[in-house]
């Protein structure tokens, strides 16, 4: 399972290789790798290490409910949003034209989501925020800056809410669920729209080159 979690660097190279040798190659995927590095700045807003580091060996007995507060942890703060999952989504997005690559990348998204939780590397809410962050990465690299700004605003709104309004979030579980579901669904819809627009753009570019 650790192996699957650590497959990301390999998938980054493989995904780039697939994209590079496809007929509709563009440098978008490579640029997206660099854009994803913005995550490092977002980690500063709500620095956290992960349930595996918080709970340690007691991960299996984590049904406790400790009081909410800041806690000193000497581990790296690379939790929210999940760069692993957003990168997996980005690699999938830029490899949709190849059927086999698309399926492998889709499987990689599910494997990454599962392993990040199973290994205690990320909280569930980290994965929720990785969807709008992936939308931000995809939109900014393909030149859809308004959509990218909206996606980043969504991420920042979540991070700000976690930091300053945690009591409100925790005391309204239904609204929290609705907000999480809307975030994932909205991001997925816009990712699909971006996908369709990208395919249309690539087709028109091919026709232009052929002409």
């Amino acid at each position: 399972m650790i192996g699957a979690y650590q497959m990301l660097p390999t998938m980054m190279v493989a995904g780039y290789g697939w994209a590079l040798f496809s007929k509709s190659f563009s440098n978008h995927l490579l640029v997206s790798y660099f854009v994803t590095a913005i995550c490092a700045a977002l980690y500063l807003i709500v620095p956290a290490s992960g349930p595996g580091f918080l709970l340690g060996g007691s991960l299996a007995a984590a049904h406790s409910s400790p009081a909410i507060g800041l806690i000193p942890l000497s581990y790296v703060a690379n939790c929210i949003p999940s760069a692993h999952l957003s990168m997996a989504i980005t690699i999938w997005f830029f490899n949709r034209s190849n059927v086999i690559a698309r399926r492998v990348c889709l499987a990689f998204i599910f494997v990454t989501g599962f392993t990040t939780l199973a290994l205690g590397e990320h909280y569930l809410i980290d994965l929720v925020l990785s969807f709008p962050f992936a939308l931000f990465v995809v939109s900014s690299t393909t030149g859809r800056y308004r959509r990218a700004a909206a996606a980043m605003a969504c991420v920042l709104l979540w991070l700000n809410a976690i930091r300053v309004a945690i009591d409100t979030l925790v005391n309204h579980p239904v609204w929290l669920w609705v907000a999480a579901a809307v975030t994932i669904a909205g991001s997925s819809v816009y990712l699909s729209m971006s996908s369709a627009e990208q395919v249309e753009h690539e087709t028109s570019m091919k026709e232009l080159v052929a002409a």
Binding site: L55, L70, I100
Partner: protein, 97 residues
């Protein structure tokens, strides 16, 4: 393409026995694979160049993460844990790993 998937699966199996650093090096091994199967294609130079850039970038990110850790020793883990519990999710559910 089928060969590349088999190669990735072999890497996945290999990753189960090695650490994070070796996994990154395995990424470069994947690059060599792509280069080897397109020996007459000039784009292999691009793959090589960008893979090296990615390797440097990953090291730079690790460095930045180290700096962030120095800035903020106090973490919000209990906040996120509380949200997960409110969502009905607990790490124990997947702790068999």
């Amino acid at each position: 393409m089928i060969l590349s998937i088999l190669f990735l699966l072999a890497l996945l199996a290999a990753h189960s026995f090695v650490g994070d650093t070796v996994a990154r090096i395995a990424g470069i091994a994947a690059l060599c694979f792509w280069c080897a199967f397109r020996p007459s294609d000039d784009r292999r130079i691009k793959v090589f160049f960008y893979s090296v850039v990615m390797l440097v970038m990953s090291i730079a990110i690790l460095f930045v993460l180290g700096l962030i850790n120095q800035v903020s020793l106090l973490k919000y883990d209990l906040y996120l844990h509380a949200i997960d519990r409110t969502l009905g999710f607990c790490p124990a559910q997947l702790a068999f790993a």
